[in-house]
Amino acid sequence: MKIIKTALVATVAACALSASFSASAGEVKKIGLAVPNLQADFFNQIKLGVEGYAGKLGIEVIVVDAKNDTATQVSQVQDLLTQGIDAFIYIPAGAAAAAVPTRLARQAGIPVINVDRTPDGAPGDTFIGGEGVNSAYEVCNHIIGLANGKGKMAIIHGQKGTTPEVDRFGGCKRAIDENPGVELIAQQWSQQWSPDEGFSIAQNMLQANPDINLIFGQADGLAMGAAKAVDVAGMSDKVIIGGYDGDGAALEYLTKCEGPFVVTATQSTQSMGVLAVNSAIAVAHDASVPARQITDAVLTTCENAPGFASKHP
């Protein structure tokens, strides 16, 4: 026991002696990428974009996955900084979008590139995001058009209060307001943007309002879950569903061109990853970078889905 205790004390003391700090200027050799949740294909695509492009440039990428937990993400960012990263690509986890990781990276004096969400009060050097409002408008306009401009609509929201949730609702609401024949009769929020939530939420909505003929799922996962619920309810021929993101699975679904889920907006996730790496390099070299860099999402139906499915933008 004594020996173990001595060893423990020695460990702590030695820790104290070998404190190391990372410094960086100019050259980017190692990029830290903090992702909210790799289970979501959208984030996984960004990760692939960053890794693929950085690999070509000979830059090492360290990825951490917060599993949707803000506290985990703060810990992971501390660990990234300990490893002496030269730039930090930050996709905040959770609705609160903690400002703390940005502050930590600022203390270490390295570039901070925000993707998809920005924490309130602590912006990074640049924000890279998908345009949400107009694309959501187009998706909703498309399904309303297929229903001849009238009907009863339901919206399955993403995680309440997140930037994409707010933007996509704003865009879709505009399409609804422009079509007086369309009535928004049901809305529900999901926690994780996931297919199983989409399924159960849509099932409950259809139970309460059997005359729904339009559903907008704010992410493809939600839309595909809703499509399943519509199939189960035997209403596939009368309900039209729109999604968002252009996930791999959704593009495959649309490629088959059957079922109630007919349209999505494909985000340029891979190019967002490339843009993030380029911005990180630019900021590290003190070059000026726009505060907001917005990539467009492309309206995707079964006509152009096969192209995107084989090569994601």
Partner: protein, 326 residues
């Protein structure tokens, strides 16, 4: 550990306070893990990283102390993650939305958390609901209440000093939040080892009926332990709010499982009656060092989940194996 509840008196000397009481296995595991990470990475073995790990285990550590007490009496508390979220939301509501001073907000948050535990305790003792079910119900209730505070949105806008408490290292060493955790651990260790009330927990965990016949008020003690566990979860929530500088009702999902894992890795038996807070401290450190180390090694997130699961299974299997050998 054969406490007879009541008359145990021990000399309080320093070595005894930190004696390991059956947690040597976990400690050896922890040291081996540290040794491996020191060799495998450049960045693990440094003061800065050691302090980071302490920051990172604060919330889990405080919750695990409360969980140790509950598991010692042979119970379980599945509600702590939700209670943590409720405490955070009450704190945010009182301080930011209602504009009350932080002292009032913290008190309110702790009271709300403690009440959850008291209700679970009463359900278990008075209504004979199994602890698993009573706390499962409370897990759902507290999560729902946490969401109701703001209808699911986050709250930001705490005073600047609140977040600084989790960032500024006093004397280059301890943040306020880590200091609070250390105090909780020391009080937990002292209570279990030197107070009659603490010794009684072992007696209840060993055999509640015998404990009752020996004159221990088992019901009151049980309610007390669940209240304390919830109170500590609430305290952890306040520290998490300071660390994140924001509160959201979806915080702390599945934290109860981390807390239970830390307690069990630390050598406390799920059937109650044996174990202690020193072991839990080591269990918490193992989880913290493992997560930190896997990040430093740049292990893929998917593989990390597998490794953490394996370590939990191995730690408990090794402990069981040792007991069978005796």
């Amino acid at each position: 550990m054969n406490a007879t509840g009541g008359t145990v008196r021990q000399k309080a000397n320093f070595a005894n306070i930190f004696s390991l009481r059956g947690a040597t296995g976990p400690l050896i595991g922890l040291l081996l893990l540290c040794l491996f990470l020191t060799i495998a990475t450049d960045s693990f073995f440094s003061l800065r990283n050691f302090l980071n790990i302490l920051d990172q285990i604060t919330v889990l550590g405080i919750m695990a102390v409360g969980m140790t007490f509950v598991i010692l009496i042979g119970g379980i508390d599945l509600a702590v993650g939700s209670v943590l979220a409720l405490s955070m939301m009450v704190l945010g509501y009182l301080n930011v939305t209602a504009g009350m001073p932080m002292a009032v907000a913290i008190t309110g948050a702790l009271v709300a958390a403690a009440m959850c535990g008291a209700i679970s305790g009463l359900l278990i003792t008075e209504f004979k609901v199994p602890a698993f079910i009573a706390t499962l119900a409370m897990m759902s209730i507290a999560r729902g209440l946490a969401n109701m505070v703001t209808n699911g949105s986050q709250i930001i806008g705490f005073p600047p000093w609140f977040n600084l408490g989790a960032i500024i290292r006093h004397g280059g060493f301890l943040t306020t939040t880590v200091a609070v955790m250390l105090v909780v651990f020391v009080l937990g260790i002292l209570y279990l080892r030197y107070r009659n009330g603490g010794r009684e927990l072992y007696a209840i965990g060993g055999n509640p009926e015998v404990a009752r016949l020996a004159g221990i008020n088992v019901k009151r003690k049980t309610v007390f332990v669940y209240t304390l566990c919830s109170l500590l979860a609430g305290l952890a929530g306040i520290l998490l709010a300071a660390r994140l500088d924001s509160v959201q009702p979806s915080s702390g999902v599945a934290y109860e499982l981390d807390a239970i894992a830390a307690v069990v890795i630390g050598g406390t038996s799920l059937s109650g009656g044996t174990g202690g807070v020193v072991g839990t401290l080591i269990g918490v450190l193992i989880i913290g060092v493992l997560r930190n180390g896997l990040n430093l090694l740049s292990v893929s997130p998917f593989l990390q989940a597998v490794i953490i699961g394996l370590v939990i299974a191995l730690a408990v299997a090794a402990e069981t194996f040792k007991h069978r050998g005796k």
